[in-house]
Amino acid sequence: MDLLIFQVPILMVQASMDGILLGILFALIAYGMALQWGVMNIINIAQGDLVILGGYIAYFMYLYGIHPAWGVIVSPIIMYFVGIGIYKLVINKVVDRDLFISILATFGISILFMQLMNFAFGADVVLANSGYGTTMLFDNSVVLPNSKIFAAIISIIFAIGLVVYMKKSKLGRAIRATAQNARAAKILGVDTEKVYAATFGINAALCGVAGALISITFTIHPYMGLPYTIRSFMIVIVAGLGNLPGVAISGMGLGVFEEFADYILGTEFRIGSVFLLLVLILVYRRFKLSKKREYLK
């Protein structure tokens, strides 16, 4: 138990800001996962590996002298096609099967991606330097790296863009229709196969954006994908399926909660406390649902 944060209250502002900025970035990854889960009923274990691959795209641009921020545009375009490729090769064979099969399949993809990235890019931890400075607030007592602010802004832009696209475009409507009832959508002339492929592609593109942002703010390594998968999974669970605004709130909430846990309980309990919160939320949900008698035992 550490009381530093109460002795130096300005740290609460720092912790909240850090948590929110981190949470927004994670929410973007979770957003893709929620979309895909809702539409295709697939939990993508390879989500984090797609993020890392997106990060490598930005990193290689940086190596060749292009500013890594351009990765935010290039990476999703490449990743969209990578996503379509994965769908055509593997996912379309498991999309109608039960959840367990899709978890196994994407777990396999995850391992394959890790090894391939390790083989192609080497086992060194790398990062791309954006050269963005620092924003100081409250007489220099709260510091926010501009790279994290940049990451949060880009994440918000993409998230809003996606919501608008889902509402207005033809494909967006088709995706929503398929999510509601795939069979009915098919009968009414929606090419669900195409919708699935596009959904997987969009998810991969979102991962690409997030990866590019992570290469600027954190570090990239072929085996670092899994924590991103787990985190986005948790965000989606807390938000509840099909609740896209909830994803943003739960992403930020978990981010802030985690930062405070770090200050108060200690860094070693940071991840553990998030899992504890997850368990509590699930138990509470079950309790609430069983009271409403909507929950079938």
């Binding site: 530093l4 130096v8 300005i10 740290l11 720092q14 912790a15 850090d18 981190l22 090894q115 390790n118 083989f119 080497g122 086992a123 060194d124 931890v125 790398v126 990062l127 330097n129 620092t134 100081m136 220099n140 510091v143 790296p145 790279s147 992570i214 954190f218 570090t219 390594h221 072929p222 085996y223 670092m224 899994l226 924590p227 787990i230 930062e259 770090d262 200050y263 200690g266 860094t267 070693e268 940071r270 991840i271």
Partner: protein, 412 residues
């Protein structure tokens, strides 16, 4: 077509049997002493695994071309059977078993990393196979009472000990305030234990003691605490990821601390990836090319550096240098034992007391090398942004004066 396939399969099977038969009764074959090694050529340790292998190969080449090993009046040459352990401890243990029971290897070289060495040591111990390892520094390797394990490197708890002692010295002998962040893995936690010991002995106080989860990519909370509490020394150890994350976020958050000490700067290519932001960081290293140790085979660190660079096209990190030293230790032990009896070689290894280009080597009863101190180098950059690692402690080998305290970010 079927017959053709059959013939191809048959011929390749025969070829495979012939090619492996020479090693299937290996230990000492003709004039060759065959050593076994499992190193990480793929998987997450593959970069350092390759450094390890290159270090071994360089020493084998050198020893063989300079007359080999003389045992019982006869001259022998070294040869190594390599397997790829895929950076996986289970695989490493299997391969140790295979090297010993199938390939008949009677002497082993270590893998890369503490974790893999920990997996292999029980196997080599069971069969009484002497293993000289160069890349497993975890303290727990040397407290299990292993009799056949010898490490040419200093144990992990000594990595940053010298940094704390230097800080105390600069503080006029008075204790300092230490903030530390260590990843939760065997190696980093051993480094942490070393700091705790050093703090106790010097009367220093640990004001932040963060244990970073392995999954964590973000040290913002730790660094905000550092900003608020203003320690004299910040110590960070979390492999290459930890080193890179720390430097990035210290620069971004403009954390001013008089001394920053860390591990894995070499492996993280800090100065290349971060340039001037990495300036003034103090890094623990097992070896540096400017140290003045000498031996007959590689002469000294500078010559080793030049020869290695010529052979492999990149400058040797300390992981390569210590791996080369392992072979020198084996050669010395074989000659003193004047036998290939495993027990005799083991006793000769235990009695090792020699100087190599890499440092003095003398084993404690636990198997760790106690006569070679760690060195600290500081990243120092010139105005053009080119950075170099300069040894600053211990003073005996210092090629530059320690810059202390680190200038504030606002003054840089």
């Amino acid at each position: 077509m079927k017959i053709k396939n059959f013939i191809i399969t048959f011929v390749s099977a025969i070829a495979l049997i012939l090619s492996t038969s020479s090693i299937s009764f290996a230990k000492v074959v003709g004039d060759k002493i065959i050593l076994g090694a499992a190193v990480s050529l793929t998987g997450k340790y593959s970069s350092n695994g390759v450094h390890t292998q290159n270090g071994y190969n360089m020493a084998v080449d050198r020893i063989n071309s300079m007359g080999g090993i003389k045992v019982g009046g006869k001259t022998y040459k070294f040869d190594i059977i390599y397997y790829d352990d895929e950076s996986n401890p289970k695989r490493a243990a299997q391969l140790a078993e295979r090297l010993i029971s199938q390939d008949g290897v009677e002497f082993m070289l270590g893998p890369y990393s503490s974790g893999l060495t920990k997996a292999m040591a029980p196997v080599t111990e069971k069969y009484g196979v002497p293993m000289v390892e160069a890349n497993g520094a975890s303290r727990s390797l040397f407290t299990k009472g292993y009799k056949y394990l010898f490490a040419v490197l200093a144990p992990a708890n000594l990595y940053l000990d010298v940094a704390i002692r230097t800080a105390v010295e600069l503080n006029g002998g008075k204790g300092v305030k230490i903030a530390q962040a260590f990843e939760q893995d065997a190696f980093s936690q051993d480094v942490r234990l070393g700091i705790l010991d050093a703090a106790k002995e010097t009367g220093s106080e640990i004001i932040i003691d963060d244990k970073l989860p392995k999954e964590l990519n973000d040290m913002a909370a730790t660094l905000a605490k550092v900003k608020a509490t203003k320690p004299d020394v910040l110590v960070v150890s979390g492999h290459t990821k930890g080193a890179l994350t720390a430097i990035r976020q210290i620069a971004e958050m403009k954390v001013d601390v008089p001394m920053l000490a860390m591990t894995h700067c070499d492996a993280a290519k800090l100065s290349k990836q971060h340039g001037k932001n990495s300036q003034y960081a103090l890094c623990a290293s097992q070896w540096h090319k400017t140290l003045t140790y000498k031996d007959k085979w590689f002469k000294d660190g500078m010559t080793y550096d030049a020869d290695f660079t010529k052979m492999f096209g990149y400058a040797p990190p300390y992981q390569a240098a210590e791996s080369s030293a392992a072979l020198l230790v084996f050669k010395d032990a074989f000659e003193r034992a004047n036998s290939f009896d495993q027990k005799k070689v083991r006793d000769a290894l235990a009695a090792t007391d020699m100087q190599t280009f890499y440092g003095n080597i003398k084993f404690a009863p636990g198997g760790q090398n106690v006569s070679k101190p760690m060195v600290l180098f500081q990243v120092i950059c010139d105005n053009s942004g080119k950075c170099e690692n300069k040894v600053v402690a211990p003073l005996k080998w210092a090629s530059a004066k320690l810059i202390h305290p680190i200038p504030k970010w606002s003054e840089r």
